[in-house]
């Protein structure tokens, strides 16, 4: 028997080797291209954490380019630093362990420098560029924010300060200059304190301005009266009988904030914040019209802001007499009240809220950020708004409306302060609420304090 040609066997072995290498190549393609994305997303992949630590997030500035959030680098690993912890209700936090909140959350992709499209992503990987985010500028004023925080002090509550442009028919947005919520937290120590903060009954992680849900009570009075004026149902000089009569809610009697004159008018009802006469309007203002007024002032809609403003939807009005004094089903956030209050200040036009002033382009230039336009919406006519504003109590140049609100079945109260300060072409609007507080002077001091500060800056 003649052996086969050895070269034939050698060629066969070469083919086997080539097939083996081809199998390895196919296996590589399988794991990198087809299975890659799925296994990279697994929670136990440590590369996710490593890559996250190496992303240089964009900085966050205030209106005057003071730094509100920046990075500290150690051996290529970045740590987020917040020079003004008082800005945490707006800036939020960035934590590898606990995620993001506030602007850090809503602008996360932008601050991380995520590519806009697949082409950019591929180019970045090809050129091995490190992921660097872009900077962002807020409308927040760091000094005012710090003062707002200091004014609230150890009290639980919320403060919102808006800057409104006057006389602009195109509807300039209302810029948020300060937004404080107490109790709060220091985002620099979030990882160390998060569990404690999350378990705290006083909810320091909750942004009370955007998500704190409060019984409005007499806070609704300016808006209801403006709607009534607008519809011609009342006139401010119309007499009102028994203005200071008590209103019983949950067995608790409430009266005017200050004693009205014996022969009171609707202007006096507003000035002295009397609940009783409002209940008489139930016959003249059906529930549907009242609900429409709430809608018109934006009290039932979720404000559009790059913060979490989501709240529970209020149930339809069950009792008009209670709804008229803000003790029915409607629950509001200070932000919603701020929008309604700003509408009165800007002749009935519902403002667009603005929190981001500028964004950085890819070339590093600043581009002014304009909030997405909303449908033109008018709460009331300019005449009604101006008439109502004229009847508001004054403290110097400031038009104010402060009141106590029965906030729960246990008889506890929240104190509210709404203030407007015209200053040249601008008007500053402030909303302050203090929880479990019956001292109107205290809440007024905070409101006037921040308005004085903004006027003097």
């Amino acid at each position: 028997m003649k052996p086969e040609q050895p070269t034939g066997k050698t060629s066969q072995l070469l083919r086997v080797i080539l097939v083996a290498f081809l199998a390895v190549a196919l296996s590589l393609v399988f794991w990198t291209v087809f299975r890659g994305p799925a296994i990279l997303a697994r929670d136990d992949n440590p590369r996710r954490v490593e890559q996250e630590l190496r992303i240089q997030r964009g900085r966050i500035f205030d209106l005057q380019r003071n730094v509100l959030a920046e990075n500290a680098e150690t051996a290529g690993i970045f740590t987020r630093i917040y020079p003004l912890p008082a800005a945490s209700p707006v800036v939020g936090y960035y934590s590898l362990r606990y995620g993001t909140a506030g602007i850090e959350e809503s602008y996360d992709a932008y601050l991380r420098g995520e590519p806009d499209n697949r082409w950019q992503a591929e180019m970045r990987q090809l050129l091995h560029r490190t992921q660097t985010g872009r900077d962002l500028q807020l409308t927040l004023d760091a000094n005012l924010q710090a003062q707002a925080d200091a004014l609230l002090g150890a009290r639980n509550g919320a403060l919102l300060l808006l800057q409104l442009e006057d006389g602009q028919p195109d509807g300039s947005p209302a810029k948020i200059l300060a937004l404080a919520s107490h109790p709060g937290y220091d985002p620099n120590f979030l990882d160390e304190t998060f569990e404690e903060l999350a378990a705290d009954a006083s909810a320091p992680l909750l942004n009370r301005v955007t998500q704190g849900q409060y019984q409005p009570g007499p806070v609704l009075q300016p808006f209801i009266l403006a709607a009534l004026l607008d519809q011609g149902i009342i006139a401010l000089d119309e007499p009102v009988a028994h203005a200071n009569r008590p209103v019983i809610v949950n067995g608790v009697a409430t009266y005017c904030a200050t004693p009205p004159p014996l022969e009171a008018t609707w202007a006096d009802v507003l000035a002295h914040r009397c609940p009783g006469p409002l209940q008489d309007l139930a016959d003249r203002l059906p529930a549907a019209n009242l609900a429409a007024a709430f809608d018109a002032f934006g009290l039932t809609e979720q404000p559009q802001l790059p913060l979490n403003t989501e709240t529970a939807v209020s149930a339809p009005i069950s009792k008009t007499t209670l709804a008229l004094i803000g003790q029915d089903t409607l629950i509001v956030t200070p932000l919603q009240v701020g929008v309604a209050w700003a509408a009165l200040a800007t002749d009935g036009r519902l403002p667009t809220l603005q929190l981001v002033e500028g964004l950085q382009s890819e070339t590093g230039d600043w581009v002014t950020s304009t909030p997405p336009p909303r449908e033109p919406a008018t709460a009331v006519t300019p005449v009604a708004a101006q008439t109502l504003r004229g009847a508001l109590p004054r403290s110097g140049d400031i038009q104010t409306f402060s009141t106590l609100v029965l906030s729960g079945p246990d008889g506890s109260n929240n104190s509210w302060y709404l203030g407007l300060l015209p200053a040249g072409d601008q008007t500053y609007a402030v909303v302050v609420v203090l929880e479990n507080n019956r001292n109107l002077a205290e809440v007024a001091q905070i409101g006037e304090g921040i308005l004085t500060a903004v006027n003097g800056r």
Binding site: P3, L13, A20, A25, L28, W31, T32, L40, E122, Q125
Partner: protein
């Protein structure tokens, strides 16, 4: 006329080899600089000295081969240079404390490569004293029973300390790979015809016929049980089967041998925890991703993280893979150079296999044919075993990626094998002319 043609071939070989080495040098130096920039943000000597030594070694090797071995295969050295240079960049990246030692082994390996490639009568010596070589290799392996250590302080004691040099170790099983190929090449050179006819002589003939196969299988089993060296045992057996097939042309050897290999695998699975762990981790690593299958899972993460274009040298996280600089260096390539880099590595080994098997095909003498094929199959099988292990195509066998991974003994012996290929390639081309 003939001498003019030979000179032209020599010049062409020189130009080809120089051009390809230039490409390899560009790749290695650019990556060394990129590593320095990525890790330190500046060009640092600590990342460039080893590639510079490598560059000098390869340039010297090129010149010496051009002078003394003008008809060599011009592709083998550049392919090997690319692998060793890339390996140095990787060791600097993954285990910089081993870099100086690896450079030392590379210098030694290059010297051995050149000595084998250019000195005359090498093959004659290897053939004539095949039993002496093999016995010496087995004795060295046996010495690990008494003097064996493991440099990492744990695991199988497969290394011998090199006398008079502190902290330097040699792995006899690496040497045995080469000696066994030499022995088998010589054995089959003499006995292939006899083997081919012996099966026609009844039971005695069949036993004679099967004896080498059973002996080799027995030896590999001893190696497996004694040293727990699954990788070396598998490699020995694969090379043996391939050469036996070449020598006899009998495909049944492959079938029976494959069956025996499988049998040994089943035995090892139930006998040794390490083998059971590797098989279990290969079959389904995910439930045990944080513990027993950690290494293979991290390797798969590295492949996935690399994607098509890679994270960039020094910018991935291959250090999460235990002993990445040795067994899992291929995963590090896949992570930092991406699919492009890992397929490139596969391509380099494929080309090397092709050039090696081409030598076997062109060889006029059976000994050279078996030797060239044996060396090529060993390097290719080792590369396939570890690359397939890293990509979860096969269970891990614990072998290194030839010429790239950290490992002095492996570098030295692989260099010697390449030296033999270069030696034979000069002879082949000469004969071809």
């Amino acid at each position: 006329m003939q001498s003019v043609a030979l000179e032209e071939i020599q010049e062409q070989n020189g130009r080809r080899q120089a051009g390809l080495l230039l490409i390899a040098s560009g790749f290695v130096m650019v990556n060394a600089v990129a590593l320095s920039l990525a890790v330190d943000g500046a060009l640092r000597w600590q990342h460039v000295w080893a590639p510079a030594v490598w560059l000098a070694l390869m340039a010297g090797t090129h010149l010496i081969l051009h002078r003394f071995k003008p008809r060599r295969d011009p592709f083998i050295l550049p392919l090997v240079a690319l692998l060793t240079g890339w390996g140095l960049v990787l060791i600097d990246r993954l285990a910089a404390n081993f870099l100086a030692r690896q450079v030392m082994w590379l210098v030694l390996g290059t010297a051995v490569l050149l000595a084998i490639a250019i000195l005359p009568h090498n093959l004659r010596l290897l053939r004539r004293y095949r039993y002496t070589w093999l016995t010496g290799g087995l004795l060295l392996l046996a010495a690990t029973l008494i003097f064996g250590v493991n440099p990492s302080g744990y695991g199988a004691a497969l290394w011998l300390p090199v006398p008079l040099i502190g902290q330097v170790y040699f792995q006899p099983s690496e040497l045995l790979k080469l000696l066994l190929i030499i022995f088998l090449a010589s054995y089959f050179d003499e006995r292939s015809a006899m083997l081919a006819v012996s099966r026609q002589n009844g039971w005695r003939g069949i036993l004679t016929y099967l004896a080498p196969l059973l002996l080799m299988w027995g030896f590999c089993m001893v190696l497996l049980v004694w040293q727990r060296d699954l990788g070396a045992a598998t490699l020995f057996f694969i090379v043996f089967l391939a050469l036996l097939y070449m020598a006899t042309g009998d495909g049944r050897f492959v079938l029976v041998g494959g069956g025996l290999l499988l049998l040994a695998g089943v035995f090892a699975y139930f006998a040794f925890d390490l083998v059971a762990l590797r098989v279990d981790a290969w079959w389904n690593p995910w439930p045990d991703a944080d513990d027993r299958a950690f290494q293979i899972v991290q390797s798969l993460y590295a492949l996935a993280a690399g994607g098509v274009l890679g994270q960039g040298v020094g910018q991935g996280f291959p250090i999460y893979i235990p002993v990445v600089h040795s067994d899992f260096v291929f995963a590090a390539i896949a992570e930092e150079w991406g699919l492009v880099g890992s397929l490139g590595t596969v391509m380099i080994f494929t080309l090397l296999a092709y050039r090696g098997m081409r030598l076997a095909l062109l060889a006029k003498r059976p000994f050279q044919r078996y030797l060239a094929a044996g060396i090529t199959i060993l390097i290719s099988a080792q590369a396939v075993l570890i690359m397939a292990g890293v990509t979860k195509l096969l269970p891990l066998t614990g072998v290194t990626l030839p010429l790239i991974s950290y490992g002095g003994s492996s570098m030295l012996i692989s260099s010697a094998m390449i030296g033999l290929l270069l030696y034979m390639s000069g002879a082949v081309e000469e004969i071809g002319q």
